[in-house]
């Protein structure tokens, strides 16, 4: 699409024979268009959608464990262990889901804030802290100790919150997810 525009724009300037400078300018504009389109290209849309899906899986997994605590009837083997595993696996990849360019500037609806790429070291630190808590959650799930689970679910949630508070726009600005 952008290539076609580039060719069109380029040949229009060429035909009007306005000289090399205009052709060069047109080439620059065309290049800009190509870059712009590549930012919001289908790959980025898919990436942002898929990371939101995976984050929702993580949220669902943490909720499932929380629900067991609420019900005070904990099904370790069928609920706690597999969901703790999901959180651990997913949080291991989490930091790969935020390549530069996948923020709001992509034009895709995302609640990822530009601060992720401005304070990237801090973002990465928070991501790694969450990985540590997720690994602990996994161990506690295998230990089947209800009190330890309660404490670790809270620690896990705090690690998620710490990152969301700084790097995700508040829910009040969020549209309903479909």
């Amino acid at each position: 699409m952008a290539i076609k525009i580039a060719v069109l724009v380029g040949s229009w300037f060429h035909m009007s024979a306005l000289g090399f400078r205009y052709v060069a300018a047109a080439a620059c504009i065309a290049f800009g268009l190509v870059v712009l389109e590549s930012v919001a290209g289908p790959a980025e849309v898919a990436q942002i959608k898929s990371r939101q899906d995976k984050l929702r899986d993580m949220g669902g997994a943490l909720k499932a464990i929380n629900d067991e605590l609420k019900k005070r009837r904990i099904d370790w083997d069928n609920t706690v262990v597999p969901n703790a595993q999901t959180i651990k696996d997913r949080s291991g990849y989490l930091l790969n889901w935020f390549p530069r360019g996948s923020g709001p500037e992509s034009g895709v609806k995302t609640y990822a804030l530009p601060a992720i790429w401005q304070n990237n070291d801090d973002f990465v630190t928070l991501g790694k802290l969450a990985q540590v808590e997720a690994a602990k959650l996994n161990q506690v799930a295998l230990s089947k100790d209800a009190n330890a689970l309660k404490a670790q679910v809270e620690a896990m949630g705090k690690a998620c919150k710490a990152c969301h508070d700084g790097y995700r726009s508040p829910d009040s600005e969020k549209e309903d997810e479909n």
């Binding site: 929702r56 909720k63 009837r73 949630g157 998620c160 969301h164 009040s172 997810e177």
Partner: protein, 233 residues
């Protein structure tokens, strides 16, 4: 005696301090104001631990107010102020006049905003009970009965209906200001002191006994407690 005082005396002749709002109504009103403010702030700042506590407090107050609307003092009771469409239109048609008599208790239009506000607060609270938080840390106590997706949807509706509630509250405040500036009637003072100046011989408020309030408090506390543990006894 100064001339201002004598003019005041003349104006006040034939009037008396009438009791209009009993203590429970006033306390419930102002604690709702504070509670909604706290819920608003803690909700927007993701301080959900405190948000849940203030939310439970609001649930408790609303339950108490509904109960008091059935068995409380005369001006608190719904049967005494909720009117039909004709009475509302009649009242609305006198709104531009400054010489209308003061309604003892809520007027017909004010009653609409009370019912709307109560309904909306209750709706917001119920949605909050089922809301799922992104952090998975402090979801509503009843969120175990819905899926993650449904709970996120309800969290969104919780916020949406809260913004509608804010508009109705704004309307309520605008009406109070209108009465103060245009109709020269101070509605805020009576909601603090419980009394207003009125003509001698106006009907007085019938006060309900406090033991009745105590019964409601026990029941409301039991309900809020059961909700807070998600009915998982």
């Amino acid at each position: 005696m100064t001339s201002t005082e004598s003019r005041m005396d003349a104006a006040l002749a034939g009037t008396a301090e009438l009791r209009v709002w009993d203590l429970p109504v006033r306390i419930m009103h102002w604690s709702l104001v504070i509670g909604i403010g706290i819920c608003w702030w803690t909700g927007l700042h993701n301080e959900l631990e405190y948000h849940l506590y203030s939310g439970y407090a609001i649930l408790w107050i609303v339950l108490m107010r509904l109960y008091w609307g059935l068995v409380g003092s005369s001006t608190a009771r719904f049967v005494n102020f909720v009117r039909g469409p004709k009475a509302i239109l009649d009242y609305a048609s006198t709104l531009h006049r400054r010489d209308t008599p003061h309604t003892h208790g809520h007027n017909a239009l004010g009653a609409i905003s009370i019912v709307l506000m109560m309904g909306l607060v209750l709706a917001v609270v119920i949605l909050g009970l089922f809301a799922v938080d992104v952090d998975g840390l402090h979801s509503g106590p009843l969120s175990g009965y819905v899926t993650f997706k449904q709970g996120r949807h309800l969290a969104h509706l919780h916020y949406y209906w809260f913004t509608i509630l804010l508009w109705v509250i704004a309307l309520h405040l605008a009406a109070v200001i209108f009465y103060f500036i245009y109709k020269r009637k101070n509605l805020i003072g009576p909601m603090i002191s419980g009394k207003r100046r009125g003509d001698v011989g106006d009907t007085e408020m019938k006060i309900a006994p406090l033991w009745r309030l105590a019964i409601g408090a026990v029941v409301a506390t039991a309900i809020v407690w059961a909700v807070s543990i998600g009915f998982y006894f």
